[in-house]
Symmetry: C2
Subunit: 268 residues, 2 copies
Amino acid sequence: MPQFITVADPDDPRVAAYRDIRERDLVGRQGLFIAEGETVLRAFVRDAPGRVQSLLVDPKRQDKLAEVFAALPDEVPVYLVEQAVLDRVAGFHLHRGVLAVGQKPEPVSADHLLAGLPGATVVLVLCGIANHDNIGGIFRNAAAFGVGGVILDSACCDPLYRKAIRVSVGATLSVPTAWLAQDEDVAGLLERHGFEALALSPAAPEILARLRPPLRSAVLLGAEGPGLSAELIARARPIGIPMAGGFDSLNVATTSGIVLHHLRFAQP
Amino acid sequence: MPQFITVADPDDPRVAAYRDIRERDLVGRQGLFIAEGETVLRAFVRDAPGRVQSLLVDPKRQDKLAEVFAALPDEVPVYLVEQAVLDRVAGFHLHRGVLAVGQKPEPVSADHLLAGLPGATVVLVLCGIANHDNIGGIFRNAAAFGVGGVILDSACCDPLYRKAIRVSVGATLSVPTAWLAQDEDVAGLLERHGFEALALSPAAPEILARLRPPLRSAVLLGAEGPGLSAELIARARPIGIPMAGGFDSLNVATTSGIVLHHLRFAQP
């Protein structure tokens, strides 16, 4: 069981990591992240108990979280903070009443991540996805369809930002993730590891519904609007999802769900 | 061409419909709605020019919108309002700089909507979807895959709320929509019109990927968490999308995209 520590003073230094999280979250915090809400907390403690640094919980919610506490290492502090104090610590009204500070995992290279995957697998490669809702939604789908990992280029936003974690329902805490180096040759990397690169592109003549899933697929997704670079598309197999008249694209998170569902269940 | 009217005073009664929209939007506004942003505005003027009541535009954006103005009826006023004044009218910083007030269409009964559809078609039936992001995402997918219409029960939120319109990229303004009466027998209604009711339910043994699309499908979606009522599932054909271990559900908008893609492209 963890240690329970009641904190009544919003300026108590023991809860400094939770202070003004709205502003600080976006500027990064030396290897730490903030997670919020019961569902996310349950996923975090289940998937990575060793990376939980502390919890901050409104005592009214203590009973509902008993089995979460039981799964925590003994040395993890749980700060019990009334909602009104919690709001002053966080700097805004945090109606979920449950927060955690976690330690980010050591960065893994994309090469290392791919090398560790089994023969038949799917990975996602995200290029320039800078919206936290979309990143979160994509990771949620990645977990739901059991992808081997997610690879991000340097123009993507942080999947361990509070909102991305929440939208992913905690999936960004558990799905294996790697960052590409600036200008890393992703097409070459995928080829070396035996992955077929599928570049999702609305205008591609080969349509997803007729694609026979390759044994090892890498799904390349770009941001809505700019999409993937022409260079990258030229070195991959472009795949499209035709739209009804007048509509030019799907949301990128929805696209990831449609593609992952197809790759998982279509006849190979 | 519309009439251009420069407004410099935030209290000018001619822009009263745009005042404090954040608060007023949620309480309804006698048959009117607010739409925001260039993409949405283009969709609105393209799909329903006769329902545009007025526009409010930062003059800096006037040139980019020339062909939108050209498509408007002559009597529609376009209020030209500098960004700083616009923010005071709206009651918050509206960085998109483009707003419209539109007239909601006359309500249509679900019975009437279904009666007007062609032989082979898909409709969505939404039960208790009360989140504007999800409603917007579902309508975006509905437009992208060309559904015949969307039917909402009385527990759904308004698809013509500003945020739902924005997330839908304007699709809530054009996709045919009808509301069910309180306690209306939706299973009976669908049967009468020859629709096969497909109840999406995570635990259903029949999986989506093996479903041969019926000629007339009605896709029933419930809110994340509670899902569809057991009663409704019992009167429909339950369809599931199996998840990888530990994950229990997809986002409902993503689910709609996966199902609509399958119904549109799978072999019948």
